[in-house]
């Protein structure tokens, strides 16, 4: 199934967490400033094998910045970023890939006009033959891509068709299958369900669960708390660049999660003031006391 014989990434899929409870990827007080704009500040995040860590937040909350740090597109400017307990600083996505951190971006990082199998192996092509005549092992790549996609339950008529002809959900699944095949230990999914319909979202959520079953650590970025709650083991809510909530599944209910996502904590503190204003309905807003889930670093300024 997940053979590592191609191995240009050099990443080896480890079956079980070797060092007990050590997280695969850990952020400690990490942050990122673009010039004098602080996009992300004081974020703690842990990714464990076989767990889905959901990162939620509204637009501009810093979700994208967070995954760009982890996937190697940007570098953090404060705090620590550890992989397998070692502090790291990636300068290219390639380095993150070599550590087994694969990202499925919102735009999926596929080339629409290229065939499915070429997209599947892009950047990590299988080759055969000595150097001057080293060539693509097309037969093996097609066979492998077909097998891997079938293992994920995707059956395509023709692997030669441009990937742009697939539906959004199918493309998402191809991208996930690709990451899993290339020995990813940590899978970052950037809003995989954002542009999908209900049924296709279900398919993608199924593959997230499948990836977790395979022992991968998954970072699932979304702004849909319902989708997050279906597969998540741990929830982190970002708000204006800081961590508003960090709770495991047992500590938080879907309702609380939704409230936090909707800016509930801020609204609750405003409830008293809003109640004075005629025409604002505050009955449905939660009381501050209702939000019992542990709140991390909320005392920090909202920069």
């Amino acid at each position: 199934m997940t053979s590592n014989e191609t191995g240009t990434h050099g990443a080896v899929l480890k079956d079980t967490p070797p060092a007990g409870e050590r997280p695969l990827v850990e952020l400690r007080g990490a942050g990122k400033s673009y010039g004098n704009i602080r996009a992300l500040h004081g974020v703690d995040l842990e990714v464990h094998p076989g767990k889905v860590t959901c990162v939620l937040g509204d637009n501009g909350a810093g979700k994208s910045t967070l995954i760009k740090i982890v996937s190697g597109l940007h570098q953090h400017t404060e705090g620590e970023f550890l992989v397998d307990g070692e502090p790291v600083r990636f300068s290219t996505p390639r380095e993150a890939l070599d550590k087994g951190i694969a990202t499925v971006y919102q735009d999926l990082a596929v080339v629409p006009l290229m065939p499915v199998w070429r997209n599947f192996f892009l950047g990590s092509e299988m080759t055969k033959g000595p150097w001057p005549v080293r060539r693509l092992d097309i037969e093996r790549m097609k066979r492998t891509a077909d097998e891997e996609l079938r293992n994920m339950g995707i059956v395509l008529d023709d692997l030669e068709q441009p990937i742009g002809t697939l539906s959004g959900g199918q493309r998402q699944c191809v991208a996930i299958a690709r990451a899993v095949y290339f020995g990813a230990r940590v899978l970052i999914l950037d809003e995989p369900t954002a542009a999908l319909g209900v049924k296709q979202s279900g398919v993608v959520l199924k593959y997230i669960a499948a990836a977790r079953e395979k022992g991968l650590g998954v970072i699932f970025i979304t702004h849909n708390p319902h989708h997050a709650y279906m597969v998540g083991d741990h929830f982190s809510v970002l708000r204006l660049g800081t961590m508003e909530l960090s709770a495991s599944r047992s500590d938080v209910s879907l309702e609380e999660l939704t409230n936090h996502m909707a800016g509930g904590a801020e609204l609750a503190s405003l409830k008293h003031e809003l109640a004075q204003v005629r025409g604002v309905d505050v009955e449905e807003l939660p009381e501050e006391g209702d939000l019992t889930a542990p709140v991390a670093t909320s005392s920090e300024g909202k920069s």
């Binding site: 240009t8 990434h9 597109l73 996505p93 390639r94 890939l97 990202t103 971006y105 735009d107 999926l108 990082a109 596929v110 080339v111 629409p112 006009l113 290229m114 070429r118 192996f121 892009l122 950047g123 990590s124 092509e125 080759t127 080293r134 060539r135 693509l136 097309i138 066979r143 077909d146 097998e147 079938r150 293992n151 994920m152 339950g153 995707i154 059956v155 395509l156 008529d157 023709d158 068709q161 441009p162 742009g164 002809t165 697939l166 539906s167 959004g168 959900g169 199918q170 699944c173 296709q200 279900g202 398919v203 199924k206």
Partner: protein, 358 residues
């Protein structure tokens, strides 16, 4: 359009690994549509049409030596159209390609003549200069993120001026001196500008080089990692980078490949005419780009072939010479080109729309 037949997401069906390969793959797109989706098919049909047309319209074309002449004409465009096409598939284009040919020829010619050295010294230095021009184009493009139109328009103007000014400065003339009596000339001419007999017809060696380069380019494009990267950087640069394709290397090397092509054609011109006119080459870059586009390469990158531009260049040579053989006013040539170009662009547009349709 049934090009976009898809499997429905097989949610409930159990995966079928193992030998049951044919499962669910029986439905194929109709053969005609699959063929039309190949980038070189449109231009192949076009080339055949033009050939048949002139076989009827211009009886001298049926002669073997005229055909050799047409092929020679095509090859001088075609050799350069190949790297230009690869570059275009890689998402960029090079306006300096036309004058770079002359720059290369001038370098080789003036260097060997002025320093009275073996012409091979000039040839090697010219190669280095051409590669350096390509590398400069690519490096500037990658570093600044400017569109290739601007970057290479700049190099185009620089080279055009430098060609004229340096030549006048060195030789006091607009052309270089005749180098045909210098050491190594005969040897170099054999490689770049000789001809041979096939069945009583005199065939120029550039035709052979053209086809050899085309075969090589096709192999690289379709069968190697590098070829995969070319499609990827042209199709979606950011995606390519995100999955680990060395985008910078691919782009710069593609520009250097155009430099190599410019060097080769420049050497051909030098060794077949013995002197070089410093003001030439302007406008040629558009001919190369047109041949690549007619050959089915997408101007915006990510799609095309190496064999398409071969037919594209052949159409050029055929029309250019065919009009002469037919005894028409050669002014019609450009009008023909325009029609061919527009036709090719429309076909490309249709292909792109159908290929990306969900």
């Amino acid at each position: 359009m049934s090009m976009t037949q898809q499997a429905t997401p097989a949610v409930g069906t159990p995966p079928a690994p193992g030998p049951k390969q044919s499962d669910g793959r029986t439905r194929q797109r109709p053969l005609a549509l699959r063929l039309l989706a190949r980038p070189e098919v449109g231009v192949f049909l076009g080339a055949v049409a033009v050939l048949v047309f002139f076989l009827f319209a211009a009886p001298p074309v049926r002669d073997g030596s005229s055909m050799a002449n047409i092929l020679y004409q095509s090859s001088t465009i075609g050799i350069m159209a190949l790297p230009v096409a690869l570059l275009m598939i890689g998402g960029e284009f090079d306006l300096s390609a036309g004058v770079a040919v002359i720059t290369s020829a001038l370098t080789a010619s003036m260097l060997s003549y002025q320093l009275t050295m073996n012409v091979w010294v000039g040839v090697i230095v010219a190669l280095l200069v051409s590669l350096a021009i390509g590398a400069f184009n690519g490096w500037l493009l990658v570093k600044t993120g400017l569109p290739s139109f601007l970057v290479t328009l700049g190099t185009f103007l620089i080279l055009q001026g430098v060609n004229l000014a340096i030549t006048k400065l060195v030789t006091g003339n607009v052309a270089t001196d005749d180098i045909s009596d210098m050491d190594g000339f005969a040897q170099a001419q054999k490689i770049f500008a000789s001809s041979f007999e096939v069945g009583g017809v005199n065939v120029k060696i550039t035709v052979v080089w053209w086809l050899v380069f085309a075969a090589l380019a096709t192999w690289v494009l379709l069968r190697t990692k590098y070829g995969n990267w070319i499609f990827a950087v042209g199709g979606n640069k950011d995606s390519a980078r995100a999955v680990g394709v060395p985008v910078t290397f691919t782009k710069i090397s593609l520009f250097m490949l155009v430099g190599f092509g410019a060097w080769f054609v420049g050497m051909h011109q030098l060794f077949s005419f013995n002197t070089v006119q410093s003001g030439e080459g302007v406008g040629q870059e558009l001919i190369y780009i047109a041949a690549a586009v007619i050959g089915g390469c997408l101007l915006t990158g990510g799609y095309g072939s190496a064999i398409g531009p071969v037919f594209g260049a052949f159409m050029f040579g055929m029309v250019q010479q065919g009009i002469v053989y037919a005894g028409w006013n050669p002014d019609w040539f450009k009008a023909f080109l325009g029609v061919m170009l527009l036709g090719a662009v429309l076909i490309n547009l249709w292909v792109q729309r159908t290929a990306t349709r969900r």
